[in-house]
Symmetry: C2
Subunit: 208 residues, 2 copies
Amino acid sequence: MSKHSPSALKPRKTPSQSRSRVTVDAIFEATIQVLLKQGMAGLTTTSVAERAGVSVGTMYQYFPNKQALVYALNERFLTRLAEKVEDTCAGMAGRRACEGAEALIDTYWSVKTERMELTHALYRSVAELDNDALVQDFAARVDRATEGMFRACPDLSTGDIDQINLSLTAVIYGTVRNAFERGLEQENISALKSDLKAMCRAYLSSVK
Amino acid sequence: MSKHSPSALKPRKTPSQSRSRVTVDAIFEATIQVLLKQGMAGLTTTSVAERAGVSVGTMYQYFPNKQALVYALNERFLTRLAEKVEDTCAGMAGRRACEGAEALIDTYWSVKTERMELTHALYRSVAELDNDALVQDFAARVDRATEGMFRACPDLSTGDIDQINLSLTAVIYGTVRNAFERGLEQENISALKSDLKAMCRAYLSSVK
DNA sequence: CAGATATATGAAGGAATATTCAGTTTTGGG
DNA sequence: CCCAAAACTGAATATTCCTTCATATATCTG
């Protein structure tokens, strides 16, 4: 378990019967829906319970407090993201660096775009609940994956891999997020994406 | 006044005597300090008033509610940022595109870096208080400035200026923010900055 | 089917804190 | 020097919401 999961945030108990598994799923789903419809401000224990069709007490059987609920939700999504990135990086091992970078952009972009609104809402929830630590953990995990990928590139000298990895990921993740913050049209988004790829390509051939 | 400044967020009254001007300044300063020391969670009307050395009631003479206070604070900083960017863009009119881009990076970076902690705190405060509208307004303002700059570049064909402006600014602003979210060392930061410049240069010569 | 375990309920308690306002003090112009 | 306007005070109010727990219901196991 991550060092950034103090007991105050850990699930209280794990469902053992199928009934409760359904309940927990409903709670997660309700959390998402409330987050989308009302934002963090409207995310009260009552509103979530109501939407999930359970009583507040039930929520507290599985989550020690409201914060833990949002924490768990973010954990779910970050895990999914990390796994996808890891898959991509593994699949690109040994390919040229710019191919790896492009694949990384595609993967990251598609995961974040898949559920735009939710992604946006989760970004904010992290800021509000001081869940940076959680994000940092996942950033480190994803960084290991991309670093490994770049380290295995035949066309990259091993010297500056750390910095190359840092710069590429900072630019990619930053740009993706920025694309969310502005409400870009689909047309602009895809142009931005291909421009981003072009920049990464150009950068890589300059440091090669 | 911006269309995104509903009366609920506008200052209640403007100080006329010098005593109250001092008071309002103290309130702003206190807000910053509390934000830095306690974060958004600890930013209560009481804590701000206490730190400012005034009573809560005084705060409410100038700001209709807590949100308005943070709103005003963000407005201050965004205005400063916008002005600096506008200055830079005006100063770069007629220069080559990559020079303009580099100057933009330097300006934006230095404003954000000047008070790192505060910048970080303000980023979060915006997310928490749903102040996107405010940010969007300033983004538009800054965008006009950069677009003008690029439009005046002798080495850029006028056709794709909009997209070029969009892509460059998205990458630049996104990367800067990402640099804050990770707790990068000064060394990595400056390497990242020069890599970012390299990418922008390379991108511009590819579309020229 | 009976006891044991797991799950669910939701009213009541309680803590935090945003906001008001009636009364007091300070300021500056005439 | 005086008084109207400006500024300030802070206890009291009002609201919002998280969290608990005693009780009830459902499910499982032997």
